[in-house]
């Protein structure tokens, strides 16, 4: 059985609670156990947080789009947002991080390494950088991204339950 959900949100942090609620409702309707639904809601939430943080939303009216697709035991979450040339620094980091995570056979090891790195940073440093490693570890998801011709960043996570 296949089923999809599309959420379109303003790039406001306050929108994320609605996203988590809608995600929970959607996955429960698909009959997923609550622990799996929780992991997938975390995936949506982490990717949407990154999208709001690093997307380019001017002129006003641009949105974050989240597509979630369940096909049997496979769940795909795709989060899209507009980017501009200033985002390329972030895109390089995103590329490095995804390649780095893929370099580990076990995503738990990647997550633990990331925890160790982050824990050594100054208390005043607000950068987290844990989100993608957490998505790969807790949801056992495979991450990917591309930028299309319309300067839209598409980050995807595919989990197999």
């Amino acid at each position: 059985m296949e089923s999809s959900m599309t959420l379109i949100l303003k790039p406001d942090w306050e929108e994320l609670e609605r996203v988590r609620d809608k995600g929970t409702e959607f996955f429960r309707c698909q009959g997923l156990e609550s622990e799996k639904a929780d992991a997938l809601v975390m995936v949506i939430s982490e990717l949407a947080e990154n999208s709001i943080k690093y997307g380019h939303f001017t002129p006003a009216g641009k949105r974050v789009v989240i597509d979630t697709h369940v096909d049997g035991r496979n769940v795909t979450v795709e989060v899209r947002n507009p980017v501009d040339e200033e985002a390329y620094h972030h895109l390089r980091r995103l590329d490095r991080m995804i390649q780095w995570i893929r370099g580990y056979q076990d995503s738990f090891e990647a997550y633990v390494e990331r925890l160790k790195e982050v824990s050594k940073k100054p208390l005043t440093d607000n950068e987290s950088g844990l989100g993608l490693a957490r998505v790969a570890y807790e949801a056992k998801a495979i991450l990917d991204f591309y930028v299309d011709d319309d300067a839209t960043l598409n980050v995807s996570a595919v989990a197999n339950f």
């Binding site: 988590r20 622990e35 929780d38 925890l115 824990s119 940073k121 208390l123 607000n126 950068e127 844990l130």
Partner: protein, 123 residues
């Protein structure tokens, strides 16, 4: 005598109770702020600072926490790392019957010390 204070940054509440032998820091609600460290770090640093004089154990109780984003994990692991490298005694409690807590907090066992001075415990 217990000294108690509750810090609120909706939807997260952190209740700090100072007891004779410990400082209990209980988390309830959800931690979903864009920059949760701004709220969380001063509370944790204050507890670390207090226990450096009196050798009390800091008990971080996450069992009633409903959700946290990855940005919340950052200040927690920074404090655990500093405790591990110092002399502070810290216990982090989580609810291992909740799958998300089990995954998120059992990974923090890398900060545990052999003598359990820093301890991550699923309840």
């Amino acid at each position: 005598m217990e000294d108690q204070k509750t810090y609120v940054n909706e939807p997260l509440r952190i209740n700090v109770k100072e007891k004779a032998d410990s400082i209990s820091i209980e988390w309830t609600g959800k931690s979903v702020d864009r920059n949760p460290g701004k709220f969380i770090t001063p509370i944790l640093v204050n507890a670390l600072s207090k226990t450096s004089h009196n050798n009390k154990r800091i008990v971080l109780d996450f069992q009633k926490l409903g959700y946290m984003n990855s940005s919340t994990i950052t200040p927690i692991v920074k404090i655990l790392d500093r405790a591990k490298r110092g002399s502070t005694r810290v216990t982090a409690l989580y609810d291992k019957s909740l799958r998300w807590q089990d995954l998120a907090f059992s990974a923090l066992e890398i900060f545990q010390t052999v003598d359990k001075r820093v301890e991550i415990r699923g309840m």
